[in-house]
Chain length 132, copies 2
DNA sequence: TTTATATATGAGCAATCGCTCATGTATTCA
DNA sequence: TGAATACATGAGCGATTGCTCATATATAAA
């Protein structure tokens, strides 16, 4: 899921053209950036956002926020095939956004990561605002 | 960017198998889901998350959070080609996450959408937490 | 045990993404 | 005016995504 971005051509020919006009400030910014957001952390964040970047997964999370549900019911609710839902649940499981428990031949899924659902809700509110 | 998810095969053969055991509750959940998260809104949210689902765009946003910067400087800071940065800035512009102003032949970009940057920060904090 | 149900998963395909490379367009400088 | 700089953009390629379809597994029902 999102291969770590290849370094492209290492330090493109560009080099020290336009940015050397104010080299000190830029070094400060780079220092801040590197410490606050390393390549590794950017990668982790991107992978988390990627899980939320699909309308069907968002719909699954939305119904799971209301109640625990089995795969079959989820498929009926979001109108997807059970296979498609199962695949989607796998990526939600892998990213630990949901938990599950088996009961008989059914598997009941529920929301696990409240932090991420807060993010969901923040964006849900955001897209409703007209101030675009 | 993220084509509206095709309805797949409309209402897969699945139909009324497992979910008809508790039809009333599921109708309630579906009603909630549809009103809270329509297909259209899920699509909008997914597109927003998709913008954040790339490590290089996150790095651009991170440095833009520190200060206004031109394309050339951004390229130097995130170590990408200016063309790649320009392409990325286009998607950030299209989604109104950044603003820009021209000054001579340079174009200075800055953060525009504070709400989305709050989301950025929430996820940045989240990935640092050990409680996984 | 045999059959059906509920879910998981691998292969594979069409669509999308993010880059490079080539090129176009302003703007500045000589 | 002509060359160089800063940026934008289209084409196109390799990688990734999200589905379907076929198939596997586990549990329940007959």
């Amino acid at each position: 899921m999102i291969a770590p971005s290849q370094p492209a051509t290492p330090d493109p020919a560009h080099a020290d053209q336009c940015e050397t006009r104010h080299p000190i400030d830029l070094e400060q910014v780079r220092a801040l950036n590197v410490s606050v957001l390393t390549a590794d952390k950017a990668q982790q964040m991107a992978e988390l956002f990627a899980v939320l970047a699909d309308p069907n997964r968002l719909r699954l999370l939305a119904v799971l926020a209301e109640r625990e549900l089995c795969v079959c019911d989820l498929a009926a609710l979001v109108k997807l095939s059970e296979s498609a839902v199962s695949h989607q649940l796998r990526t939600l499981r892998d990213r630990r956004l949901v938990r599950y428990r088996k009961q008989g031949r059914k598997v009941y899924y529920s929301l696990k990561d409240q932090h991420i659902f807060d993010v969901y809700r923040a964006v849900a509110d955001h897209v409703d605002e007209p101030e675009d």
